[in-house]
């Protein structure tokens, strides 16, 4: 069984694309979240190997969710997804410990190679 | 693999320190009193403007004072340990010896007894056993070590 991944994005269309890309590569998508609060809760209960976290989400944005996730597990593997123009938010996320990010719109290879590297790093 | 050491006499025992650490060898003149120093500190001497503590090795190593050697042979060996300098008062300075590092062993006979804490190891040198001092420990002012307890 491949690594377990949690997808957090408010757009269901986005989640669907990501899920397809991941499943094709043999990853297990253990859950989906459509806002920050849900992302944090599902992270806590599902304990995935990695979470793809969108920055712009209702209720609780991705940055805040990321901080809470790191306080649950400081070694959590988090990949931030962002739109172009959110560079300062990404920099903030890096400061907080995020190991990689992808910029939308992305090619499937990008998301796969980012996940692969993040999983390889301890 | 061999290193040079300065050997010296203390009571009935023989000890040594690496030549590289030795700065100078002095007669024990002009040791100045120091208020409430630990019992194993004989006082201080000044060397080129620096004020250097002098450790009474006999007392530091809890050896019995042994007057087998003449007082006129007594010396202070000034050594450098890290950024510190310190004097060691000894009964007599003997010679410079080469010791093969592979020949250094832990006290095989237990002959060193109570002061083994201050010894890195021993090496056979001719007839006698030469003990190599662990300088950082000899010079530590730590209270847990004997002789350094507050009055």
């Amino acid at each position: 069984m491949g690594a377990t991944i949690l997808i957090a994005d408010d757009l269901s269309f986005m989640r669907m694309i990501q899920k397809e890309i991941l499943m094709e590569r043999g990853y297990t998508v253990v859950g989906e979240a459509s806002d920050g609060i849900e992302a944090v809760n599902k992270f806590q209960t599902l304990n995935p190997d990695l979470i793809l976290l969108d920055i712009t989400m209702p209720n609780m944005n991705g940055l805040e969710a990321m901080r809470r996730i790191f306080s649950i597990n400081p070694k959590a593997r988090v990949i931030m997804c962002s739109a172009l123009g959110q560079q300062n938010l990404i920099v903030e996320a890096i400061r907080a410990g995020v190991k990689d990010f992808i910029v939308k719109p992305f090619k499937p290879e990008r998301i796969l190679s980012a996940i692969e590297k993040a999983l390889k790093a301890s | 693999m061999s290193k040079r050491y300065v050997s010296f006499v203390l009571g009935t025992g023989r000890y040594c320190v690496p030549v590289d650490e030795v700065i100078q060898i002095l007669r024990p003149d002009g040791i100045l009193p120091v208020p409430k120093a630990p019992p194993f500190v004989a006082g201080a001497i000044t060397l080129r403007g620096d004020v250097i503590p002098v450790v009474n090795l006999t007392s530091r190593l809890s050896r019995d004072a042994d007057s087998g050697t003449s007082a006129s042979r007594a010396r202070i060996i000034i050594i450098r340990a890290g950024s510190r300098m310190c004097g060691l008062s000894v009964d007599e300075v003997r010679e410079i010896v080469d010791i093969d590092e592979t020949k250094i062993q832990e006290d095989p006979t237990g002959a060193l007894g109570t002061h083994a804490d201050f010894i890195l190891g021993v090496a056979q040198q001719g007839q006698s056993l030469l003990a190599i001092l662990d300088l950082p420990r000899v010079l530590s002012a730590g209270r847990n070590l004997q002789g350094a307890s507050p009055v």
Binding site: F101 | V19, P33, P35, A44, R48, G49, D50, V51
Partner: protein, 695 residues
Amino acid sequence: MPGSAWTEDERLRRAFLEEGDELVQKLGESLSALEADPGSHDLVHEVFRLTHSLKSESALMGHASLSGLAHAMEDVLESVRGGELALAADVLEKLVAGADRLALMMGEISRGERDADSDPSDVVQDLRALIGSRRGTGDEATDGPPARGNGAGPHGGAAEGVAPAEPVFGAQEVSRLAEARERGESLFRVTVTVATDEPMKFARAFLVFNNFEQSANVIRAIPAMDGEPADDASYARTVFYLTSAPDDETLRAAARVDQIAMVETARLEFPSAGSIGRPLQEHYRADAGPIASDRGRGPGPAGPPVEKTTIRVDARRLDDLWRFVAELVLHKSHVSRLSDGVARGMDADSIREELMVSSDSLEKISSGMQQAMRDTRSIPISIIFSKFPRLVRDLSRKLGKPVDLVMSGQETEIDRSIVEALSDPLTHIIRNALDHGLEFPEERVRLGKPERGRIAVSARRQGGTIVIELADDGRGLDTERIRQKAIDLGIPDAASLGEADLRELVFRPGFSTKEVVTDLSGRGVGMDVVATRIRNDLRGTVELASETGKGTRVVLRLPFTLTIVNSLLVEDGGHLYAIPLGDLDSTSKVSAGDIVLQEQGEAGPWMEELIPLYSIGGLLGGERTPREEYFAVVLRHGASRGLLVVEELIEEREMVIRPIDDLLNTRRLFSGVSVLDDGRLVFILDTSFIRRDNF
């Protein structure tokens, strides 16, 4: 240089000219040698090193076109070293043309002409053409458009061609570099190229930066990593200067994140004095007064010669001082408000509390100011070192002993006050090394040594100590012959003296006379004078290390500043103690009957109240010697007061404070120790104990 009226800029300019001349001359020599032996890697390296030094030094002095030319030569040599460019005749020819132009330009600069007079762009273009540069001119401007790895080979030859000019490090960076070097770290330049299709180049570079920060100390990133990036594309290629203990593999691993196309690491030399960016814009007139004033009776310690001239100070250091002054003003008005409060009948407890706060802050401010002031007094040792290349060159010619001078740590800062006192002894030691230490070339060859001698001079800061080493690879000291001489001179115990003792003899007056020394093939003409200067005037130490036939090393250790403190000397229990006047409120007398025993300990009367009372015997773990009446010193520490009773008050005097070893200070009661002229020890009291008990 007594009475020298040069400004520091002028000194730097002269130092640059001397060194630049030297470099240009050596460059010519090495290139000729290279023409004769084009296969020599050592020579290529030497030429590379020389152009590199010329590049950085001239850039520092603002000679942009000279620096640009040297840079172009350096790039060509880099390609030769990297094996991308063969050292064909036409390449050599262009390099020689470059060296000639450099010499011409140096000449113009030394005659005071602007270096722009000789535009070297023709030569630069020729050189650039050799490595197929994308840059048309050799202008040392900021990096042009970032190089992209557009298929110029698997290793992206594109980026390699433009080795960045090493930046000029600022004072703070220099001090961080110095610290890193002390910790044993290495300096690296890591060039990170971001994949061309990465939409957020800055964030990508920042990710690498963030990773570096885990295992290294990033000194500088170009472009800078702070704030909002003005131009995202400029981060396509980001250069990091960082220091790190682990090897470059660790750094590569840190940079191995997704979307990074290429990582290049290079280990660099720590910057020499040449790259200290000291914008000496600000200028202030100071009396530069001696730390040691001549107040008080008695001979007192003879202070070293002190420069009394206008000094230039780094603006940042003045900023530090200003910061403290601002705080001082703030607290002054606070205190005056409090005194108004007293007049208006404000309650005593809150006044007392606020006063304590202010007093503590004032303490911090004054020690901060002291430190900041000390900083304004420091200057890189290059001010002395810069004289050495010429000295060595002249002597080497005169004596017919070719020699290479290697200097490092020129950026090490020393106190201005010791510059003059230090200059002569160092010059003397170098002179001796050339005169007596180094053999003639024929002899060296016979001994299987390189024909050219080597003299290495280095300086570094080690805690509060400046360590200066001067080493040569000459014949070394013949200790057995020194012993023989000592026996002849009737020095007691000469026959049994150890190596170190024998070497120490060289510092004896009379022992090191010319005739003896030449005979001993050692050094020593006036070594006794050197020793006196360093040991007595500068309160430092001198040591000689030597291996017969291999060379001699002289190690000087100097206190960074001479800490001279005005103190009150007292006597108690047969020992002398000193109380720094800054910790002293007043002195008085206390009779035994006035001492009361309170819960926390003894107390005595002072200004209508009872304050804690101490005795030195008590502080050292014993008891107060019973007497009818005591002298008492009122100590202050912040708002706290305490009485210290002693047997005798002796006098006020200035004392040179030396560090005290832990073995002599097991109760941590002393902050240092001092030696009186008659050899007695004085223990300097650290009066912070009154605070520990008081509140």
